[in-house]
């Protein structure tokens, strides 16, 4: 099956939606591709069973969903892009079926994933990401009266606490690893962003009875086959708290695997772009978290700029440059405020698993001098997550970077890799047909 479009947007989170809508509203033939069953990405994730009125994200989300609904966009939901097979063609898979998606211009809005750091007991069911727990709740997980501890780092912790409380969960406490000294200037700087103040106040009000501890982090999760309690370091003292869920994530890591596969230049793990959101590859744009973790507003602005630029409406795109500059400043302050402290490197013990796909302990991995050596000798990173969990953790813990990206960037059926046009195979010998 083949699809051909003028503009293909990969990722239907806020940046992708903004890009697709902006391009489609200017009469481009647009496709919006995402591996989830519906648009929204992580931050605007919905339960498909909900009515069209989505109140949980406020008016911004509702407005963009409306524009998405009304725009002439081909939505390819449930499709996972895994490789590039020609300069202007990607291949994607859905439920074992493979399709080629051809484009004149490509906009990568692949978002970010949570950074997970290992600590004893982190593999127990019930220990889950911060955005992950919210996603599960949005897709049907009963959470009323469940006892939840939230830990890790980033503004997501507060956002999630608020959402969980609205859904009836008992959020026992929030443990942010950053120190008050780092956070205070960030909080003050929010004065420049009225929308964010309102957001922050909303969270504060919702979570007012929930303690928010800074300089705090998880030490250990315990339980038999499932999480039963968590031990936290709070202001230097250990406290053990029984709970049903530990929602734990240490900020975000950009999903740059597809940009890397395409050959886009990266710096510090983010995609380099010009003022039009264009990458180092002609006609390949990038918007949102892959250009640098920065949150919803910048994702929407960058998405619009990319969509407008790809649709050749550069003046309209230019009109958003000032806002983009402003929110980039916010992004820089965000990164500084929530930088991960070195104590987190001491959390895993020798026997704590680092690679969850292959069950490789941290002690075995850190004996090596490079990611490649560790991978070959311990098999960490060789599982289906392809190093997205363990590799990102190892980057922080050991300072290693994975050296390259190979296709497929997600596991796919053998048939999807075998499924290339037969005329290309004409020059390859095999001895006989059988």
């Amino acid at each position: 099956m083949n699809h051909e479009f003028e503009i293909v947007v990969i990722g239907a989170g806020p940046a992708g939606i903004a890009a697709a809508v902006s391009a489609a509203e200017h009469d481009m033939r647009v496709a919006l591709v995402d591996d989830n069953p519906s648009a929204g990405g992580q931050i605007w994730r919905t339960n498909q069973g909900e009515s069209n009125q989505d109140h949980s994200h406020g008016s911004t989300a509702a407005e963009w969903r409306n524009r998405l609904r009304n725009a002439n966009i081909t939505s390819l939901h449930g499709w996972s892009v895994f490789d590039q097979i020609a300069p202007r063609a990607l291949c994607a898979e859905s439920r074992g079926e493979m399709a080629e998606i051809r484009f004149d211009k490509l906009i990568l809005a692949t978002g970010a994933r949570e950074r997970f750091l290992p600590f004893p007991g982190w593999t127990l069911p019930g220990v889950i990401g911060v955005g992950a727990l919210q996603a599960m709740v949005k897709t049907g997980l009963p959470i009323r009266d469940a006892r939840v501890v939230i830990a890790g780092s980033g503004p997501l912790l507060l956002a999630i606490a608020s959402a969980l409380q609205s859904a009836g969960a008992r959020v026992i406490c929030i443990c942010e690893q950053a120190s008050v000294t780092r956070l205070a200037p960030f909080a003050l700087s929010l004065a420049a962003f009225p929308g964010k103040i309102a957001e922050g106040l909303r969270y504060k009000v919702a979570t007012r009875r929930t303690p928010y501890h800074t300089s705090s982090w998880p030490i250990r999760a315990t339980g038999t086959d499932r999480l039963q309690e968590v031990t936290l370091s709070i202001g230097g003292k250990h406290r053990t708290i029984p709970c049903d869920y530990l929602a734990c994530g240490f900020h975000l890591v950009p999903n740059v695997e597809l940009p890397a596969l395409l050959g886009c230049t990266l710096a510090d793990g983010a995609v380099l772009i010009d003022e039009w959101q264009c990458t180092s590859i002609q006609d390949v744009y990038c918007a949102g978290e892959p250009t640098g973790i920065s949150g919803l507003e910048l994702s929407l602005i960058e998405g619009q700029i990319a969509g407008l630029a790809a649709a050749l409406h550069e003046e309209k795109a230019r009109s958003l440059f000032t806002q983009r500059r402003k929110y980039r400043g916010f992004a820089r302050r965000l990164a500084a405020a929530f930088a991960l402290r070195p104590e987190l490197k001491t959390l895993p013990e020798e026997s704590t698993l680092l690679c969850r796909c292959e069950d490789v302990p941290y002690g075995a991995v850190r004996r090596h001098h490079s990611w490649r050596s560790a991978k070959l000798q311990t098999r960490c990173g060789m599982g289906p997550c392809q190093g997205r969990v363990c590799g990102s953790a190892a980057e922080f813990l050991l300072g290693w970077t994975a050296d390259y990206t190979r296709p497929p960037i997600f596991p796919v059926a053998v048939s999807s890799l075998a499924c290339l046009q037969s005329d290309r195979n004409a020059n390859i010998e095999h001895t006989h047909a059988i």
């Binding site: 490789d83 097979i85 074992g96 090596h368 001098h369 490079s370 490649r372 050596s373 070959l376 000798q377 311990t378 098999r379 060789m382 599982g383 289906p384 392809q386 190979r406 296709p407 497929p408 596991p411 796919v412 059926a413 053998v414 048939s415 999807s416 890799l417 075998a418 499924c419 290339l420 290309r424 195979n425 020059n427 390859i428 010998e429 095999h430 001895t431 006989h432 047909a433 059988i434």
Partner: protein, 383 residues
Amino acid sequence: MSGPYDAIVVGAGIVGAACALECTKAGMHIAVVERDAVGSGATAAGMGHIVVMDDSDAQFALTSYSQSLWNELSDQLPPNVEYVRSGTIWVAADDEEMAEVQRKLDFYSVRGILAEVLDSQSLAEAEPNLRRPLAGGLRVTADAVMYPPCAAGYLLQQAKQHDPDLDLVMGQALHAREGQVVLDNGKVLESEILINATGAVAPALTPGIAVRKRKGHLVITDRYPGFLRHQLVELGYLKSAHSTSADSVAFNVQPRSTGQLLIGSSRQFDAEDSGVDREIVAAMLDRASLYMRSISSLSALRVWSGFRAATPDKLPLIGPTEDTSLFLATGHEGLGITTSLATARLLVDHLLGRPSAIPLDPYLPCRLAQESTMAHTMEASRA
């Protein structure tokens, strides 16, 4: 303690690691030079199939000798080497290939290698996921499979037991001649014995040797325990391995002890780029699906490639060069894993003047120089 070294091995792939072990077992104090990670070259792109081959007497001698060395070692191999004596089945698709099965059986039987002919029915029973009907096959029970990077790691670790002062020097060797190995960081290592075990890039270190890169690809699947029991190789594989120009693929699959399937194989000359070649991977997987239809629905986790070190006569280069300090242990094409142990043993036998279990002559580097000299002479006389 660093220098002086009794020997310097350049390349910590499985051949280099095996050489390191044999040298240190003989009491030498050595250095091993590696530019990336232990077992990260062709060793990481090999199937880890320990197989006796019947292409030629010389190839048979080397592979069967080396297989017996692996057999001897097998009890000591740690679990991460994943050594399993799963056996090989050479799969025959038609009567022509069944005739080849018979020929192989005769060849092996005369030489004491245990092999058993499978007819169509017993092949299907041995490997239920193979398509039916196929003509049959040849099962060679003593063949084994393993995970090569950890095998290289193990051999090197054992070398360190014999030579606790063994120096693993990380760096790229730029030159290895006249008793000196010069690294890219400026470091110079000295020894009277230098061993070039750098695989497909051996000519960069020793210009003029007849080693060419021959690219291959592998695909590994998620875990499907019980899907496959033996290493399966189509008999057409041999024709693929012999082709000297075309790109080719052949059906060649291996069960890993994890329950994952390792799928090969492909061969390309003149492919310098180490990236994944989608078309040839597609052709390779297509071929595998032809023999085992249900392979196509398995989940493929990773695809990777590597370069074999190919020589004109399909035999490795083991032994001395014109430079009295420099020795070669390279050119193993698709049999480096199998023949690593025998290569190392033969080389160190030669260094020490010990008698060898098999003659070294067929693998001596000078044979190719002689052949080209002979070719020149014949051409000249014809003129």
